[in-house]
Symmetry: C2
Subunit: 149 residues, 2 copies
DNA sequence: TAATATCCAAGTAATTTGCTTGGAATTAAA
DNA sequence: TTTAATTCCAAGCAAATTACTTGGATATTA
């Protein structure tokens, strides 16, 4: 039941991006340096985030990434699902095209997995980037503009 | 965020054991056959469950496993944590000796992981084997005594 | 035209998962 | 007393997954 580095790095990187969102486009290199994540690996994560329409990019020199929406409209859930896929604990209760199971209609344990899935989604969908930015400023009042989150 | 087969097989096997709890000791062989799980692999799972005091065993011919407590006292949470370890999505919020992190006191994302951890535990701790047995009988009124769950 | 970026597809080492194998110890029944 | 059934235990191992790295092609600005 562990998140992979994709999910963890992804939320970190998106929070970094949100905190710097007033500065225009942010190159991955700067996020990678601040958060101590491989830039090449971040590329892969941002490709997924872009495909989901969570960030937008501009190529070339002085290019970089920006949030595609306001921070209060981007949930941790959207970020995590973009990077990790469904947060369902078992494939038979994935939201879209759940894995086939011939006893699905009489399966008892399925209800457990669904409840877990729904509660996890509920939690992560209730937290937005705006919440995280505010929490960050509260916890780190001294650091003008951020290091490692 | 997926459960491994340990957790999934474990809950299945424990439900099977609960349904057959009136029959005395149940050998793993019969659970393995009914649930279509490798008997040798089940041995490893039941070693963990026994270490946690969730099942008890009798060795030798006519031996087998039994629930160590009444079904209403055994939660899905206890089973899953015995088999999967902490259900925390990130090691820094494991209940006992969380992984060290030098920015733990100023970490924003930690709150997300804690909320997920707590909700997941809440769900699985609210479901007992008794609930599952009742649900099973409701969903499978025809099958006198069980096949694949 | 040089530097800075995103974009994209493979490759790969380390780790984890999901078992299997091979036996030793214990117990009940024949 | 032997045999069969069973738990107990420690290793071994192939396949899959993870967490990257490598090596470019393409786009944009200075």
């Amino acid at each position: 039941m562990k998140l992979s580095t994709k999910g963890r790095y992804g939320v970190k990187a998106m929070l970094d991006l949100a905190i710097h969102s007033s500065e225009g486009h942010i190159p991955l290199k700067s996020i990678a340096e601040r958060q101590n994540i491989s830039e090449n690996y971040l590329e892969q994560l941002f490709a997924l985030l872009r495909k989901e329409g969570i960030v937008k990019s501009i190529r070339g020199a002085q290019g970089g990434y920006m949030l595609a929406h306001d921070p209060q409209e981007i949930t941790v859930g959207a970020i995590l699902r973009a990077l990790e896929g469904s947060l369902a604990p078992v494939d038979c209760v994935t939201e879209n095209d759940p894995a086939y199971c011939d006893r699905a209609d009489r399966c008892v344990t399925k209800f457990i997995w669904k409840k877990i899935r729904d509660k996890v989604n509920e939690v992560v969908d209730s937290i937005t980037l705006k919440d995280l930015v505010e929490e960050y400023r509260k916890l780190n009042p001294d650091e003008g503009y951020m290091y490692y989150i």
